[in-house]
Amino acid sequence: MKKMLNKAGVILSAVVALGFSAARAQPATTTGHANDFSSVEYFKPPHQMLMASRLSGMEAQPQGQLLLIKQLKLETFDTNGVPGLIVKAPNCVYDVVHGVANSPGHVRLETADGSSHVEGDGFLWRQTDHFLTISNNVQTVIEPGPKKKTGL
């Protein structure tokens, strides 16, 4: 679970960062609205050619200092290209100024092999101190067997 949780921080951090970047990448003459967007982040050297994470969503829309993201999906990879975690949230609001993401909706973090996951309803992510709160109905599921070596 540890590994998963550790990655969750990275993931959520990447989500908001990449989401913001994706939205800001939109032409200034438009509303900043993006559909079916995706954004890829690469590792730092010497692995700069490898994908670290891929953020995708059905919609991203800036509203003042907030960035509204729908059907968020974030995938992480290690330096061997092996998928790590997948984070999904139907809706997410990111406060660009304060570095805080939240949603009253569902959030789910799962290992790429599906062996373990954490989910709940309502979450708050503080990017400054890498602190995640899931506020309701938290459930962690760890499947038995070798797949369990996820640290979750």
Partner: protein, 209 residues
Amino acid sequence: MALAGGWLHAQTNAAAMSTSHAPTIITSERADFDLAERHAVYRSNVRVDDPQMKLTCEEMTADLPQSGGQINHLVALTNVVMDSVDEKGQTKHATSDKAIYDYNVVNGVTNETVTLTGNAKVKDGPNWMTGEPITFNLVNHAIHTMHAENESMIIYQETTSALANTNAPAAKTNLPAGAADLPVTKTNFPPGTIQNIDKNTTQSGTTTQ
């Protein structure tokens, strides 16, 4: 009760021992994950469901290890209730104010314990045990107390209502049948005196002084 991680690790070990392939599930109303400090806290109605262990408490914290490691320290707080089944199918029911799970490997030897403190009480089969603390050794499945200078351990057997209302059986003696009915022999010796106490009788019948 790894219960997830250290305690979770306990849960996962229990799951590994089980023939069941049911997952370990941790539920709570709320959870906080401090990923910078590698610390997780499950709050309110925390429940760990594992094929071999069930644990409930009001709060459970976990220190998250470095990557690649296992959770090695968990603390369950407030109204801790733990039910487990060992490999022989024997159930254990434990309650306490606090339960601490620790896991470490020293010189290749795995140490994995759950320590109960604060009104700790364990029901192991028909026996109840109280003590401060009570420690479960998850490696050899032993239950014991530590810190002998402070320990207070009481083990008592559960009585059933059927036994409680019966007359105690007659005490067994080596006396021949009817000997108990013999009249008491009167002596002139004061109470507590044994006649010829200063003489030892050998098997050959000779007396030594």
